[in-house]
Amino acid sequence: MIYKVSYVVVGQPDLGEIVNLDTPPRVGDRVTLGDEPCEVIEVIDLIPPRENFAYLHVTCRPIQKAR
């Protein structure tokens, strides 16, 4: 399965990525978007899977806001 992932960051509309991953992200993961270290706070199925693709939406927040 290939995971096509849409990352967005709360409060920062200019930060965001779309990328294919081999493993799905999980809540609590740390990722760097742009130069911003972020924490994954939600992972949802954006649309139903098709063929060998799963489509995920990941909401993140900057690490400093999480503290």
Partner: protein, 157 residues
């Protein structure tokens, strides 16, 4: 990993057979970019679609452009695209000029560039390939629209 395998892992071509993907590989060429290289520029004529084999690019649009004020426009980032993603597909579909500037953000980013007219000709000549490619382009554009909608929804924090 071969270019055929890399393209097969892109949503755009994932449901084609390896033989069909080979026909697409035969149309294009690899290109490598370094951070800050501009790959396509908003407003320029378009002639290729790109698949990201590795690395990362950033999509930017000009904001606040005032015709009578000289100087370069302020570019605002829309999104970053990584492995397996495509860009340049809007101009593939509508044949217009580039709708955004795309800049490389990681050294050694590898792209596969496919000439627009050659891909159109292949799709016109083989409707099975054409249907799959156009359906997958539509799905990719819809995904990007959903991504942007969610970005805007969360913009207020």
């Amino acid at each position: 990993m071969s270019v055929t395998a890399l393209l097969h892992n892109s949503e755009l071509f994932s449901t084609l057979t390896p033989e069909q993907v080979e026909k697409i590989v035969a149309l294009g060429h690899q290109a490598t970019y370094n951070a800050r290289d501009v790959i396509i520029r908003e407003g320029d004529p378009s002639d290729e679609i790109y698949v990201i084999c590795s690395g990362m690019v950033e999509v930017e649009v000009a904001r606040g452009v005032i015709p009578d004020v000289s100087g370069p426009p302020r570019l605002a980032p829309l999104a970053r695209l990584g492995k397996g993603q495509v860009f340049g597909e809007i101009a593939l579909v509508d044949r217009g000029t580039r709708s955004a500037t795309v800049r490389c953000v990681k050294d050694g980013t590898m792209l596969y560039a496919i000439p627009r007219q050659a891909l159109w000709d292949l799709c016109d000549g083989d409707h099975t390939i054409g249907y799959v490619v156009m359906r997958n382009i539509a799905a990719d554009l819809a995904f990007k629209l959903r991504h942007r909608n969610l970005q805007m929804r969360l913009a207020g924090g």
